[in-house]
Amino acid sequence: MRSLPLRRAVDALVTIACGAMVLLALVPLGSLLWLVVSKGAPGLSLSFFGALPAPVGEPGGGVGNAILGTATMVGLACLVGLPVGIGAGVFLAEKGDGPFGRAVRFTAEVFSGIPSIVIGIVAYGLVVLPMRRFSALAGALALALLMIPTLARTTEELVRLVPGTLREASLALGIAQWKTSLRVVLRTAAGGILTAALLAIARAAGETAPLLFTALNNQYWNFRPDQPTASLTVQIFNYAISPYEDWHQKAWTAALVLLLLVGVLNVGARLALRRSTAGGRA
């Protein structure tokens, strides 16, 4: 056995090393947030949100069409992704304890780890090939497919937070199971489901890879879902890999806009969750 002072010294060293790991993990976050804000903020202006992209070297210009495109595609994706994802989550929470439920849960877990670019190819095969055209619809389908598994798992966890006594009280009053599910359990879990939905929307808004060859891009305003569409993320990518200093500046500003959007959605999700858990405990 080694001496006690030595063992204590080793203990202290390991503690310091582990503490250093915490700091090391926070360095990239700090650097990234600081740079996006400090480099992106000078380019912010009203026209950046409302104008079309300007050619290289021309002052002004914005990412208005890209913001609209992201909103369109995320909106369309929600039409399919939210009902299916939330529905599957409610199924897992309410009826998911049998072998079928376990199989669905495992599939959802594994499916949520599938790379988004692979889902992009699926959307390409399902929409772009038959329509022979890149379109907002194809991009939206890819985003919807990406939303479903994660949304299902988050919804399940948050619906399961509803205390069992509430359900039992309702059943004891003779209320049918479906009514208990809908009017008691799901109404109590509404805040949690909203949280899950907002997180899924935030994730979808930040996706780039599956949009590259489904929605492609568009230099102009597009109001038709069957046409190629710009998105904030693809626009950041194109600006960043261009050789022009002017466009790099725009990439930082667009990244700031994207981070603000994702940040607002995440804060909203937190607020909804806080209200929901407070309601659940009461």
């Binding site: 669905v104 670019i117 889902i119 390409y124 399902l126 049918a176």
Partner: protein
Amino acid sequence: MPPPADAVARGATLAAPPPHLPAGAAAHGGDRVWNGLLVAMGGAILAVVGLVVLELVKVSRPALAAGATQFLVQKTWDPVAGSFGALAFMYGTLVTSVIAIAVAVPVSVGLALFLSEMGPPRLRPVVTFAIETLAAIPSVVYGLWGLFVLVPLLRTVVEPFLARTLGFLPIFRGAPIGLGYLAAGLILAVMILPTVASVTSEVLKTVPASLREAAFALGATRWEAIRLAVLPYARPGILGAALLGLGRALGETMAVTMVIGNSPEISASLFAPGYTLPAVIANEFAEATGDVHVGALAGLALVLFGLSLLLNSVARLLVRLVARGPARVAA
């Protein structure tokens, strides 16, 4: 709202259907509809996954028809000459993911240990919030940061330093250009850190306090208790966390595409530019000409899909194994 008149009778059937009622009466009509709806929603997940697999196979068929084995082992990728080999991309994916895991796992385990076993409890929510923020940042923003911060840093400081001090190793030789395996691996490490760290924290939480207390009672220091009692118990779960991280690293696209240099070569040096499976799909798919090129890219996606399916399944099973642990010990 007053309950309907037959509610009492219906409530009674929930607990135990009276014997004089037909069997079907136990389930109310609305319940059957609701049940059916929920099961259909669950089944939708299975249907979606089936659809994903079918579509992938369908799109990749033209390339796979030319020979799947050759596709996997061939090194050259030259769409113009019509030769499609996946080897260089699989190599790049492997190298960058291994770098990511080698960096992210020690940092995550250290972080999780500090938060759960050592540091002040007040620190926990703050760091957890920071890690969640890291997870919420879109991939393309990481790419932007990697391209304009990490790559210049590697080119001017880190790579020359590594070449000077560890240059006798073949992996640290060559011109320090910044863009390459090392940049991609490091940015992946940052991106998978939230996954690995949060799963590791969850796993550490499931370690029974009695194990730790037994070690302390025998006079162990905090580190000895961790090394002798906590870590052995949590090991399969930490391995699961690492595999989940690996699964994410394999499929990460945008940030890697922006910093890896995009050159379909196999180089021993980590400073050299390379290519990964997702990166080549991202760069070439929209402009792919001909069914075979599209098919070959979809074939790469199929490889990626298979790998991530395998990794994620094993990882989930491992994490579950640890979570089930306390019951096993108590029994």
